[in-house]
């Protein structure tokens, strides 16, 4: 459409893995100095494509040309040399290193053999100031929050002189105002003449930032649109991604019953130094009710969930139906019918190096269909895993592959399927659809809603405020370990919630 130069051109890219074709005949043209979004469902092949462009994996067929010349990338350093930088979905940072060490690693300024810390500090501050990315180079990364870490990732890329930035689902972990900050940064970068490739499945965001959008479905490019010249809606894009009509994402109806399923009184969790991370909170959830907790990550959500599951020690009282479970073990709680979708799926929900069907047993190992008496029953567990894979649309070649082979969204679907099995009475869920694409997201919502109809009580923590508002019957806003406000999902907007979460609008 314009004569301006192409920063990246991919022609006929194919990539096959055992049992799966990740990319088939991908064609992509990215104009220099634009923000180009690539959208597609989980497992559509976006991440694989970007890994190929960044030299982490090699395409089986096809050509990559950068600024008009054909290149072959054998490793990320080749890509870096051609001016390509990648901001990964899971941050690639060493927690025990300082910001400076993380940024310069691999291309350190040297003075003889000595690493020139003074020069590095100066360069980083320079780049940071130019692009409005404030960081302190000498703090340890382990002390930083999500937004800061992402800024470091972007700095890492800029430090290497990248002219083409790949951002892999950068907004998945951010709260609304952080997303705004990121987009401002991206617009600045564009002004500086940089090219940004932006991978996402959040279509509203894509429409607000992208100059051009390419849609990938089932490993292949199905079309490109220009949101400036063509009139496209998020719904149009979603239908291109999924390939058919979408289910509507809200079906609110009052299903709250009288029975109180979970009653929490004066719950507190303390950090090592004695500081309260969760500060004397009380609430209850009735059967058929979904209570949402809104809050910026790190305000005590994870600790509340862990305390309710008996993983973290806490003071206060927790009652499940008529039983006081304050001092009961995690296993006991699970056996009572409490399902748990944790915040960090790799740490708490999966054994990455075990097959899917063994992961199906995890946390449910004392119950059917996974065991009878003291014996495990792999056959029925496998059959049930197949059921989950089908019902929750887990994209996998078989149930014998390792959990680590699945993409993040598909891992999440498996976890949700597992935790919704065995008719739980209470579901404690953190970000149930994190990393999951629109189609599957709607399916997970439907599963939760149907179970709620049948009397499931849900405690929902989510960074996706639309999800929180769309699903919850009640929303509580958590700030520094305390509930600071209640919100009615029928009337509240994501902006209002965002304000309350940061404590900016105390009066609200």
């Amino acid at each position: 459409m314009s004569q301006s130069a192409l920063a990246v051109e991919l022609k006929g890219i194919w990539k096959r893995f055992p049992g799966v074709i990740a990319n088939s005949d991908i064609n992509l043209k990215v104009t220099s100095g634009t923000v180009h979004a690539i959208v597609g469902e989980n497992g559509a092949g976006k991440s694989t494509l970007m890994k190929i462009l960044y030299g982490m994996q090699k395409a089986d067929e096809g050509t990559i040309s950068i600024n008009g010349s054909d290149l072959v990338f054998n490793s990320p350093s080749d890509a870096i040399d051609s001016g390509i930088g990648m901001v990964h979905q899971h941050f690639m940072l060493a927690d025990n290193f300082t910001v400076l060490e993380n940024i310069v690693l691999g291309s350190e300024p040297k003075n003889g053999i000595r690493l020139d810390f003074a020069k590095a500090r100066k360069q980083i501050s320079g780049i940071a100031a130019e692009n409005g990315l404030a960081v302190d180079p000498d703090v340890l990364v382990s002390e930083l929050g999500v937004g800061d870490r992402q800024r470091i990732e972007i700095l890492k890329v800029l430090y290497r002189g990248a002219k083409i930035l790949i951002l892999d689902e950068p907004t998945a972990v951010l709260v609304p105002h952080e997303v705004d900050e990121l987009f401002n940064t991206l617009r600045d970068l564009k002004k500086e003449g940089l090219t940004v490739i932006f991978i996402s499945h959040k279509l509203d965001e894509v429409l607000s930032i992208a100059d051009e959008i390419t849609v990938i479905r089932q490993g292949t490019t199905v079309g490109s649109v220009n949101p400036h010249t063509q009139n496209v809606s998020a719904r149009d894009l979603a239908e291109m991604m999924v390939g058919n009509e979408l289910p509507t994402p809200d079906a609110v109806g009052d299903t709250i019953q009288d029975e109180v399923v979970l009653k929490v009184e004066n719950l507190s969790v303390f950090a090592k130094g004695g500081k309260a991370i969760v500060d004397d909170i009380s609430f209850q959830i009735r059967a058929g009710e979904i209570v949402g907790i809104a809050g910026v990550e790190g305000n005590g959500q994870a600790e509340i969930l862990d305390a309710l599951m008996g993983i973290e020690s806490a003071s206060g009282r927790v009652q499940f139906k008529n039983e006081d479970i304050t001092n009961k073990s995690t296993r006991h709680r699970r056996e009572l019918g409490i399902g748990f979708i944790p915040e960090d799926r790799h740490r708490q929900a999966l054994m990455l190096e075990a097959p899917l069907w063994e992961n199906r047993m995890l946390g449910h190992q004392t119950r059917e269909p996974n065991s009878k008496g003291i014996w495990l029953t792999p056959r029925s567990a496998k059959a049930d895993t197949k059921r989950i894979v089908e019902e929750y649309d887990v994209r996998t070649p078989s149930i014998d592959v390792l959990a680590s082979a699945l993409s993040g969204g598909n891992q999440q679907k498996l976890i949700v399927g597992r935790e919704m099995s065995g008719e739980p009475k209470l579901l404690i869920a953190a970000h149930p659809t994190r990393g999951v694409d629109v189609g599957a997201q709607a399916a997970i919502w439907d599963h939760i809603r149907n179970a709620r109809q049948a009397g499931l009580a849900v405690l929902l923590v989510s960074a996706d405020l639309d999800e929180l508002i769309g699903l919850s019957d009640n929303i509580k806003v958590l700030l520094r370990g305390k509930f600071v406000a209640d919100a009615d999902p029928a009337t509240v907007t994501p902006q209002d919630l965002g304000t309350a979460m940061t404590g900016a609008g105390e009066a609200a």
Partner: protein, 404 residues
Amino acid sequence: MTYLKSRRFIGAAFTAITMLSITRTITGNGDLTSTVTIAQALVFASPIALAGLAGIWAERAGVINIGLEGMMILGTFGAGWAGWQWGVWAGVLAGVIFGAIGGLLLAVAAVTFGVDQIIAGTAINLLALGLTKFLAILLFTNAPGGGQAQSPPIKGEIPTFTIDSIVGPLTTLHEQGIFFISDLAGIVAGLFYNLSLLTIITFLLFVMTSYLLWKTAFGLRLRSAGENPWAADSLGVKVVQFKYAAVVFSGMLAGLGGAYLSIASTIYRNGNTAGRGFIGLATMIFGDWRPGGTAAGALMFGYIDTLRLIDTGNQNVKGLILLGAIILFAIGGIMLRRARRNSAIGFLILGSVMIGAYFSATSFPPEVAQVAPYITTLLVLATASQNLRPPAADGVPYRKGDHH
């Protein structure tokens, strides 16, 4: 930063000397801080320190090296055999090379094939033990001065240095028995008495390691392989090469430690390492995977070992018991100030028991001292483990291209 570090170092040294001095004054046992004791402690500490340093190199690159003991054994054998054949420096070289072979074996198993690192290391320990016993029988049985379990004497000696102008007056000062001053004099004199060139090399290796791993780009890359190899890979760091380099160098250092042992006892003997590889590993953990702390840990082990071995009339062990009690009381006091009451009470009770033992018994069996280093390590690990910062990806198998 450096200012703070040197202040901490001086503070720690001051505290240690004060405690030794108190113990020496109460027991009236001048041996505790004598020139000879300290000089010998350096000899005992060096092989352990080298093993600990070897551990730092491997684990900073993310490979747990349980095989240190085995690599040390290979080093003792290499030094005994080559030292007997071609002299002591050939022995040092062979010890280093044999250790490097052990390191290479671990690298192939753990880095290339992703074998569980604990199992690979243990296999190397068993292999080294069996192989050296077998080779000893094969090579040394009929050699003059050798036997089934030991090599003939190593030819030649490593040069040692004594600076008389320092040692003489300071030793005299030590014999005066003045609180603190005499003890400091004895300790300083010990550093310049019969100081082996190998000990100096060990010291230089520690300095080199601190500089290389923490001040250079090479070190940053090597450590990144132990902190987050996936991130390092994404930035073009050749993770596998760094891991190989680190583990092989780790083997070389452990081998040098083994060579030191053989040379100090002038022969190779089966079982000469006596678990020093594992103790080295413990000093590395004690030292929070850093050279300074590791050296301090090794000195502690070397010192206790020395007191046990030069013990006349069973008085040194008694002194150690008192020293232990004083240390326990000191830690108990610190815990009390940090409001960790339960740990404080534990330490104070333990300290009281030791004080009681000190005053009620006239002598202790030397075995008590033999277990002392192990008990110390356990205590350190039990109290300090929460503050330790091991490399984040230590022991995690890494495969290129894997996302994490």
